[in-house]
């Protein structure tokens, strides 16, 4: 189909474009997304995995239980997800890169530990393989219900989170390394929002042969010089890691001074929260990853992420073939939200796998005219190419999305 479509500009902005160009020696496999996530973590230097089984993320734990002993790492089975994430936070404080993986029900249980890791600036990676909900939903069906939960992953406010979402098995591999890099660079937990399709899907996967030769992997840095700031200071945007290598440390969930002592002073509260927020907000140029197709001349732009983006992209190309100048934006970085991708004043059609309308609200906020933003929500199943093409055609020709079965278009 794409060969019939008119030429259209495509752009992928992500660090792994260069990585993939530089590292070409390796193995080419047919593997699952969970395998790619596991190997990506191992390649990034993850040496501790603490988790709890839950479909569709169980395979990550299974692969980890096999792979980590082979590379001198530690696999820990915990009694629940809360313990899993706390164990990872402890492992990271102890000096090793750590990861945990779960699905929606476990992700909500992790939020206590998530907030604790944010405030204590503990680098680690959480994989959430989203399935359709609410609650347990269907274990074998994809969903995109955790877009906002991943942003507001803890109570209390005053923080920013980093959330990435892959849309292919190969991308899951590179993106996991990237997630570890960002976690180390910004000293914060990073969520990988994958979904049941990406996790369980088997696809072509290239894996570089020598993980030690990957020069882009950010190593665990330790600052052994005094005075050290376990949790950073107002002057220092992102402090180096000081933990786990013989340095003294004071870690607390309360508002703390730069040395880590509890304090109930407004100045300390402001200093801490400004830093937690600004270390991410001021570095959005380093955080934004996305893919676009033909947005420059588009009359209507489709927006999606994750597994869903694959059919949406094909739908956009199909719409182009039908004579609609359609564009496509695939978000890879979901949070901090890349407002700059929505500068063109055209109608946006946001396709996501929930009826709530989560991503669409952010697009409405960032687009020049929120009233031109349309919603195509679907539950438990990817959008079909026909649906997306019909939606884009409808918006381009009549300004409305036609009535389609099981597609929700209202945002309230």
């Amino acid at each position: 189909m794409s060969t019939l479509a008119p030429a259209v500009s495509e752009q992928l902005v992500a660090p792994w474009v260069e990585w993939a160009r530089r590292y070409t020696r390796g193995r080419r496999l047919l593997e699952a997304g969970t395998y790619a996530l596991t190997e990506g973590a191992i390649a990034a230097g993850c040496r501790v995995f603490a988790g709890y089984p839950i479909t569709p993320a169980t395979d990550i734990a299974e692969y980890m239980s096999k792979r980590l002993p082979q590379v001198g790492g530690y696999y820990v089975q915990c009694e629940d997800e809360l313990a899993g994430m706390h164990a990872c936070a402890g492992a990271s404080l102890g000096g090793l890169k750590a990861m945990t993986a779960t699905s929606g029900p476990g992700y909500t249980l992790m939020h206590d530990a998530y907030g604790w890791s944010i405030t204590n600036e503990i680098p680690l990676v959480v994989v959430d393989a989203m399935r359709v909900g609410p609650i347990s939903g269907i274990t074998g069906a994809p969903g995109q219900g955790e877009f906002y939960i991943a942003r507001y992953a803890s109570h209390g406010g005053n923080f920013e989170t980093i959330v990435l979402s892959p849309s292919s098995v190969q991308e899951a591999f590179w993106l996991t390394i990237d997630a570890f890099n960002l976690a180390e660079r910004f000293r914060t937990p990073v969520t990988i929002l994958t979904d049941q399709v990406i996790s369980d899907m088997w696809e072509d996967l290239f894996i570089p042969e020598d993980y030690d030769a990957l020069d882009f992997v950010v190593p665990r840095k330790n600052n052994l010089m005094m005075p050290f700031y376990p949790v950073g200071s107002a002057d220092l945007d992102v402090p180096p890691n000081v933990i786990g290598h013989g340095t003294g440390v004071c870690v607390s969930a309360y508002t703390h001074t730069e040395e880590g002592y509890d304090i109930e002073e407004m100045e300390a509260q402001w200093a801490q929260t400004y830093r937690l927020i600004n270390k991410i907000r001021h570095h959005r140029d380093q955080l934004t990853r996305y893919e676009t197709v033909g947005v420059e001349d588009a009359d209507v732009i489709a927006v999606a992420y994750g597994a869903n983006a694959r059919t949406v992209k094909t739908g956009v190309l199909e719409a182009r073939r039908r004579g609609v100048r359609a564009g496509f934006v695939r978000l890879i970085t979901l949070w901090p939200f890349p407002d700059e991708l929505f500068e063109r004043d055209v109608p946006y059609v946001v396709c996501e796998l929930n009826y709530d309308g989560q991503l669409v609200r952010e697009v409405m906020r960032s687009a020049p005219d929120g009233k031109k933003v349309r919603f195509m929500g679907k539950s438990a199943e990817l959008h079909t190419v026909a649906e997306v093409a019909a939606g884009l055609e409808g918006v381009a020709r009549t300004g409305r999305i036609p009535e389609l079965p099981y597609i929700w278009t209202e945002v309230r």
């Binding site: 709890y52 089984p53 169980t58 239980s65 002993p69 089975q77 009694e79 629940d80």
Partner: protein, 343 residues
């Protein structure tokens, strides 16, 4: 037994079945489930609700028996049944019992004793839901029975390690390899002992095995008759997770007891009573070697003589060195008290 009452609410007075011929014919867990061939947990469910009778509410947290029992418009349940979130079985039972009590107290429903049974797996009960169960066992004003069905793995998500998985077992999270033969090195939790020792106001704690069906049912009936929060731990051989021929389910349950790996006892108002084959072991009958039990299961197929000896040693310790054999793992300080090994 007729005078047995709870602290506040009356309970149903369920006399023990005197032999297999006296067991009621009615079934409250019938056809319509999709458990594996040879599934002992399904049998435990069936016997449990047969013992408790029609005026019963069964609930519990996610586990293999929860995903296998109400799929695609089929269900074996005749009594009300509730599938709660993972880890919540104790709390949900407490809430249900409290809700019933409040409605009866206010006269909004007919005042009658209703059995509330929380049926939870080893993952949902002994790992994640341990805190909820422990808290429930301290609420003496509410009648609910927590029955932990222990198939020694997360069978729902395809046999992962749980806190109740025995030492060295092969699960998808602990695959034996050439370099590391034994991946799972943690010893199994002593769940019933922990519940009995740690909850002074819990009036009844028992261990059961469905291989001894009538006794198992009678323990359930006793727990429900006594009232208050009570706890029963059931060992359920699982053909899929333990990797054996489904026809051996009963035999493995018997072997677990005869080898002394799983003791059968009940604790009523603080008084311990061993029963069945376990009583014979305590009275001096020789235990079978653990290898008879372990080598019948594929999950221990990688065990060497060394591993078998280690396992045997731990079980011997349980019977020879524990303060209360098989129940309380405090080591005896007085060596003179120690009974000779009964290998």
């Amino acid at each position: 037994m007729a005078d047995a009452t709870t602290f506040t609410n009356d309970t149903q007075i369920l006399e023990p079945f005197r032999g297999i011929k006296k067991v009621t014919i009615e079934e409250y867990f019938t056809s319509g489930h999709r458990t594996c061939q040879g599934c002992e947990s399904a049998l435990v469910m069936k016997l449990m609700v047969k013992a408790s009778g029609p005026r019963t509410i069964v609930l519990g947290s996610t586990g293999c028996m929860y995903v296998a029992n109400t799929t695609y418009y089929t269900t074996p349940w005749v009594v009300p049944w509730m599938h709660t979130q993972l880890g919540s079985s104790g709390s949900a039972a407490l809430g249900t019992a409290a809700g019933l009590k409040a409605l009866m107290k206010k006269g909004k429903m007919k005042s009658e004793p209703i059995n509330v049974i929380a049926f939870c797996g080893d993952g949902g009960g002994a790992d994640m839901g341990l805190n909820g169960i422990s808290a429930t066992l301290t609420h003496k004003d509410y009648n609910c029975l927590i029955l932990l069905y222990d198939n020694e793995s997360y069978a729902n998500t395809d046999i992962q390690l749980s806190g109740m998985t025995p030492y060295g077992a092969n699960t998808t999270f602990s695959p034996p390899g050439k370099t590391h033969r034994i991946i799972h090195k943690r010893w199994k939790k002593n769940m019933a002992g922990m519940m009995a020792a740690g909850h002074p106001e819990c009036r009844y704690v028992a261990t059961v095995c469905a291989s001894y069906a009538v006794e198992m049912m009678n323990k359930v009936r006793r727990a429900l008759t006594i009232g208050g929060p009570t706890f029963i731990h059931s060992l359920d051989p699982c053909p899929k997770g333990w990797d054996y021929d489904p026809m051996l389910s009963h035999e493995l349950g018997e072997l677990a007891i005869e080898t002394g790996i799983f003791p059968l006892y009940e604790m009523e108002d603080g008084e311990l009573r061993y029963y069945g084959k376990t009583k014979a072991i305590v009275d001096g009958r020789a235990r079978k070697p653990v290898r008879e039990y372990l080598l019948k299961q594929g999950r221990f197929a990688h065990f060497t003589e060394e591993d078998l000896a280690y396992f045997q040693e731990k079980i011997d310790e349980m019977w020879d060195k524990w303060e209360v054999p098989g129940v309380v793992p405090f080591k005896r300080t007085d060596a003179a008290k120690a009974a000779p090994s009964q290998k």
